[in-house]
Each structure stands twice: as C-alpha cells, then as structure tokens.
Assembly symmetry: C2
Homo-oligomer: 227 residues x 2
C-alpha cells in the first residue's frame, strides 16, 4: 500500500461546526444548525444536475454558491454580492477535526497522502494552507472532471501514481464512498466522525467487515498502520 | 499577486548534479556529465513528438524512459528492465538547490506556491516528499494535457485559482518559459541558476527589464517580495 487518498468534507474537516460558527457570527436570521444542514443537503442534488448533463462541468465553489442563493431566497435574506461571495468561501475555511493534522503528519511518514475530494483545487489548497494539513498532493474531482463516487476519480488516483487499485486506500467517514472504491479493488478505511452532522444526528458507525480498517480517528488509524 | 507558480527542473532542483552523481555511483561506462546533458537534451524533441501528434499524450516519466533506452543503446550498455526502471526514477530523486526549501518556506508565508512543471504528478509529489519542498499544491502539464510553453498551462493555473493572469507570477530560470507566461499577462521572476548545465556551460543570466523580478536565488526573491 503506497497511497492514502482522503475524503475531505466530514472526514478531515468539520463542515457543520465551521458553518454554524460563521453563520452565528454573521447574525443571520436563521437557525445556524439547520442552515448548515440545508446547505450541505443541496450538494448531492446539485452534483446530480451536472451528472445528468443539465449543467456542464461545475466546480463545487459554484455549486455551493447556487445552493446559498436558493437558501437566502427561501429565508428572504437580502445580502449583497461581496457578502455572498465571502460567506460562500466558508467552505475554504473549514476547521480540521482535532486529530487531523497530527494524524496526517504521522501517516505521511509512511505513505503518500493526497486529498480525493469533490472540492475544487483552490478550495482544497486554501483549506490546507489555513489549517496546516500536510498533504503530499492535492487531487480533486476537478482534475478528473468527474465527481465521486464515479470510478474515474478513484482510478484516476491510481493512474497518476501508476499503482494498482490494491496499492491505494481510500480513507473516509462515508460508507458509500468506501463501497465505490472497494468495488474497484481499492483498500478502504472507515473513520468514525460521530458529529459530522452535529450533535443530534444519529449516524451509522458500525464496523463493517468488508472494509480493511475501522478507526476512531486519524491517530487511531496511524496506530493501526504502525506509523 | 496571489499565486507563485514555479518551474521545477533546473529552477528548484539540480537535475545535472543529481544525475551525474547517480550515474557515477552506478559505474556506467560513460562520461556522467555528458550522459546527464544528453538525457536532458532528448526532452524537447520528445515533447515535440507529442505536440505534433506523432505520439499521444505521454507523461514525462515515459519520455525520460524512451530517451534513456536510446542512450543505453547508443553506448551499447546492457541493462535489465528493473535496473532501467530504477535509473529512470532518478528524476523523482533530484536534489533541490541549497536555497530552495528555505526560500520556498518564506515565500509560502505570503503567497500560494505551486509547481507548474512538465514533470508528471507522481514525479513532482515524490520529489517534494523526499526533498521537503513545501508546496501548497502540485500542478503539472499532466493535469492540463499540454506541456509548457503552451498557453493552456499558465492559463490553467489562473483558471484553477480563479485569478487574472496578473495575479499569478511564474518563477523560472528559463527566459523562454517566462516569455511565454508574460505574453499572456502573467508576472515573471527570473532566477539565476548558473550551474544548471554543469560548471562549464556559459548561461545567459543577464537581467532583462521585461521581467518583473530578477533574483540570485529563492532567498533573494523572498527578500525582494518582503517575505
């Protein structure tokens, strides 16, 4: 195993907590928790519009912005263009989970660590720079012109590094992402992120025998991989 | 100015010295200096075969290997497949110039620093990991499916970061690379690398008023940019 590819939103960074914090600070007349959940919930349908061909290739920054516009309209919130643009960039400013930087640093000593996210390159680069995420490489759906879980993304990483799927492991907090990678022969590590959707949502964190690893967090994964 | 994009071979790393060292250690029956120069000299003609359509898109690793095979044949050196593969990967192991890591670290504090190299992603990633080059992002001709100096490469960086060409600066030891970027409206910084082709080749290091900066090395560039 040579390359660890990481899902990012929810797996490496806490989008829910970061958005709740910024929306609260802005004093928007909404429930910040619900606003964060609604923003994130718009993301799969938005990607589906690209997959269906209704929209051409669209970076996640622009999908996030479309969803934000709809949410602001729904709440009849008047916000000017610069403020919308600034709020939309909250996705570049997501905070890492407490174990992420140290865990990644340990894993990096033994493996090549790369993002494999639907987030665009500039988003992932800016996020890493702010948060100190020590990626060896930043790969994105934007490079492959396909969103996860399309096979082109996982296999694209293998092609770039000239490795077989079994020499790449996807690390993610989402079982559907892992299943898509596993179907192609990649290795898989599930990481528990019980509060990805806030403190009240019950998530399925059960250990699944089909995944190669099951870790509480990145430190635990580094322990299991003897890093 | 937000993004500094760096040429890599010759600008960040010393391909000549690194190849001379490895070829000498291997004890090949060749003049190591001439071997290094010949290997590098095969690179522009090899890219030209891709540009002309004679070859499909080919990563630099594979171009380097084609040239290596020709050189070994020319010198009638018998080398088995694993040894050829290992030697070809010398391009992943090139050593940085002495000022590179510290200079880049200073520049990174103020700018987003990315590679913009004809080297493939795995080559650049492995090189950075070994040498400790602190890139924010690794971009390559491989992502844009065009080699420098094709405009798609420089403009591709601007598109990914959603910036205008004047907000991006190319840093390179090669005036033709800088001229191609400058023609598109990018800023340019020339860096002197007097020994890129070894101690005996005379290089044109003259200051050109058309470039925005002229630096002795990356530390000098960081000084000039107040990093």
């Amino acid at each position: 195993m040579k390359v660890l590819a990481f899902d990012v939103f929810g797996t490496v960074v806490d989008w829910y907590g970061s958005i709740v914090r910024e929306v609260t600070q802005l004093g928007l007349p909404v429930d910040p928790a619900q606003f964060a959940l609604d923003w994130r919930a718009g993301y799969q349908p938005a990607m589906a519009r690209v997959r269906s061909g209704e929209l051409g290739w669209t970076r996640i920054d622009d999908l996030h912005r479309m969803i934000l516009n709809e949410l602001l309209a729904k709440h009849t919130i008047d916000m000017d263009e610069p403020a919308r643009r600034a709020l939309n960039l909250v996705w570049h400013r997501l905070a890492p989970w407490p174990d992420a930087v140290e865990g990644l640093t340990r894993l990096k000593a033994r493996f090549t660590i790369t993002t494999l996210s639907n987030g665009n390159i500039s988003l992932l680069t800016e996020m890493a720079k702010r948060a100190g995420l020590p990626w060896d490489c930043i790969l994105s759906a934007e490079v492959f012109r396909h969103y996860k879980p399309d096979p082109e993304t996982y296999l694209g990483v293998c092609t770039l590094f000239e490795i077989d799927p079994q020499d790449m492991m996807l690390v993610a907090a989402h079982k559907d992402d892992l299943d898509a990678a596993r179907a192609l022969g990649c290795r898989t590590a599930f990481v528990e992120r019980p509060h990805e959707f806030g403190p009240h949502k019950h998530l399925d964190l059960r250990r699944e025998s089909r995944f190669d690893f099951h870790a509480r967090d990145f430190q635990d994964l580094a322990d299991q991989l003897s890093c």
